[in-house]
Symmetry: C2
Subunit: 167 residues, 2 copies
């Protein structure tokens, strides 16, 4: 496996992070869902208390090759924190060089160092190369669980008027 | 809908929280997976920086009826934080009184107040009453995503030796 470098993202990397997010969304056929902007990424990833962490992977040539965004989650059954991997992406032209694996193992190492009981992420059912890659690393698929989501207008409508709201 | 009270859990509620976790695990047929203890819950939920938040619901009689455990997550596509609901449980004898709905709407209100773009959770495919309940609230099921998990020995084996480890 050629050597690759992985390092934490810095504020100056925001344009690159946005590029990766858009590349990933295009690959997942979800580009219309992307509302991220450089400004929003800067405000959430590089705040005093960041909402998530980002690591970048570079190819042996120094070219930016991929990224991962993650944050802590929590398992009630274990009563321990875990690590949730929100996004993992390697540019098509850098695939097959072990960069995705390096990113995932980097995060597994972080998860262990932080005392996490488990590491979790979600995969699209049609993304067979990703599924095979994850299974080769020993990940199990929780096929009997489905993710539910309340968002946008439906989330806003579900909110009760707060103490400061009259009407 | 009879009135019910929802409040944030306090350190003195830890025995009750553990009872709810075990009740939920038994319902989900996952009791053998529960490693939580009062000590572990206290250390993670009531630390200076808690790993998750817990709210409790009480019936009109004052009896503890249910709970929810949640933490912030992050959407890269929105570049906004979200709210992830790890567990929601209402004791069987208190179901049908709107307590589960009150808990979920309480969290939706919190999510809105905190500027979250979405609220997410996972449901077991065979849990038809829960699925119907969530759909009645306008939640969508992300049926094309599957959760992957690396845990226990497999997670430990995936970790690379850190700078302090030789061998």
């Amino acid at each position: 496996m050629p050597s690759s470098l992985i390092r934490s993202a810095r504020p100056g990397d925001v344009p690159l992070i946005l590029e990766f997010i858009r590349d990933l969304a295009a690959y997942e056929k979800l580009l219309p869902e992307v509302e991220a902007t450089e400004e929003k990424l800067r405000a959430t990833l590089f705040a005093e208390r960041p909402a998530a962490e980002c690591v970048l992977a570079f190819a042996a040539t120094g070219a930016p090759a991929g990224f991962a965004i993650f944050f802590p989650n929590y398992s009630t059954f274990l009563a321990r924190p875990g690590l949730y991997l929100e996004d993992l992406f390697v540019k098509p032209e850098f695939r097959g060089q072990g960069i995705g694996k390096s990113l995932l193992l980097h995060l597994a190492t972080l998860a262990n160092a932080r005392g996490c009981g488990r590491m979790e992420w979600a995969v699209l059912d049609w993304n067979q190369p990703a599924i095979e890659f994850y299974e080769s690393l020993g990940a199990e698929r929780k096929a009997d669980w489905t993710i539910c989501r309340l968002s946008g207008e439906r989330l806003r409508q579900s909110a009760r008027p707060g103490p400061g709201v009259h009407g």
